[in-house]
Symmetry: C2
Subunit: 252 residues, 2 copies
């Protein structure tokens, strides 16, 4: 699991260490110390000298973390080219991506620690309560949205995007359903409205629009009313039983 640890390396020593381990398959390389970070690509940024933690994963992704926040200060998803150069007496990591063209440059001003890890691929990762899961559940039980509702289509493409659920109500009217796994905002309302207008144009009949979500913001609810659309409360996690572990108290 821990392949190598190097404390208080010199610049040359760090460069050699990184050159060796960044090439080896499966290696997650970490460096801690005082860095200077430059980025240039979709935007450009400069992080002046400060203490950072660098992670380079085996897939070539790079992230530079500061003392706060989940989000790294600088990063690079899966790089196409990774190399370490020795410049003006300091080791420098160059992480490059081709599409989009981006370059991240980390200058190791004062490295304090370098660690090489091997994280074997683990077991499954299961997520409950995604919009996709909600969609499957409601497609199987449309009456949860409204009694008498009958599914016509799922992910029906229109000229303005895919409709989550298309159904007919008890009176045979077409119903466009837009799902949100979390609190629905006015964006969801506009999305629904576009779908409803598109279906009206094509079908040439009365079409209802329903926003199905666990909750909705006040402005979104107002806009829904103005546009003649409806809201239905639907929870994303159908029953807590489903995700509760075998023995109780694991989440206590």
């Amino acid at each position: 699991m821990v392949r190598a640890i190097l404390t208080d390396p010199g610049a040359q020593e760090l460069a050699e260490f990184l050159n060796e381990h960044l090439r080896s398959p499966g290696a997650l390389v970490q460096v801690v110390g005082e860095f200077e970070v430059f980025y240039r690509g979709r935007a450009a940024s400069v992080a002046e000298a400060g203490d950072f933690l660098l992670l380079v994963k085996p897939d070539g992704s790079v992230q530079v973390h500061s003392h706060r926040s989940v989000k790294p200060v600088n990063w690079q998803p899966q790089t196409d080219d990774l190399r370490v150069v020795f410049e003006d007496g300091i080791a420098v990591l160059l992480a490059e991506r081709f599409t989009p063209a981006e370059l991240l440059r980390v200058g190791f001003l004062a490295p304090a620690l370098a660690v090489v890890l091997e994280l074997r691929e683990g077991g499954d990762f299961l997520l409950f309560g995604s919009e996709a899961e909600m969609q499957r559940a409601l497609a199987a039980n449309p009456e949860v949205i409204e009694p008498g509702l009958c599914l016509v289509h799922m992910e029906l493409p229109t000229d303005v995007g895919g409709i989550d659920l298309l159904a007919r109500d008890a009176h045979g009217r077409l119903v466009v359903v837009e799902l949100k796994r979390g609190r629905a905002s006015h964006e969801a309302v506009h999305q629904l409205n576009r779908y409803v207008e598109s279906v009206r144009r094509v079908a040439g009949e009365a079409v209802r629009g329903v926003l199905a979500a666990p909750s909705v913001t006040a402005p979104a609810l107002n806009r829904l009313g103005e546009l003649g659309l409806e809201f239905r409360e639907v929870s994303a996690l159908p029953s807590s039983e489903a995700v509760e572990p075998a023995q109780p108290g694991l989440f206590a």
Copy 2:
């Protein structure tokens, strides 16, 4: 910078180590090993036994990384409560947030390494090419969008959101400008269309709509045409000079 390193700790030993250092101010705590991770809150997830890297920053944010991807497998922004318990012979980290109610549970099945770091707050972080910067630049020089354009408002609130720039063209017609720092998609077109329709309702006069971005997707450009709106190519990073470091070749 490096406060403590513990290799191959026992469960009890790790629990004590974490209890000591998670409380100390400014400590960034890291654990590497085989974990099991549960999450329950806005959604729910289970990561079966596997190798992970845990980071707990001084601000209480928690992230669990696997061997791939910039994004952690599980995380928790700034937690309200962090504690380590000893359960069934293993050390367990409980990271809780109150709003929204969320709990992350990391079971250290086989810890291999624990490190405590102190990352002092660093120098400034400068970002170039944000939409806000683009907005300021175009507000100061509206003729870059179109000769004769004259700024009327910036971030003008409407009933459907804030208009980036409102201007008048050489003929005195109102022009709604929507900015995007990256390639504009059909979402940006619909956003612009909502603003234009809102201004038309209020102003009761002819209103043009301009999408200003470095590029636009083909479907978005089609939709723009259908809606009678316009596209103007504007780059987010005005000149490469501005972000180029003093001595050339730093980004080479």
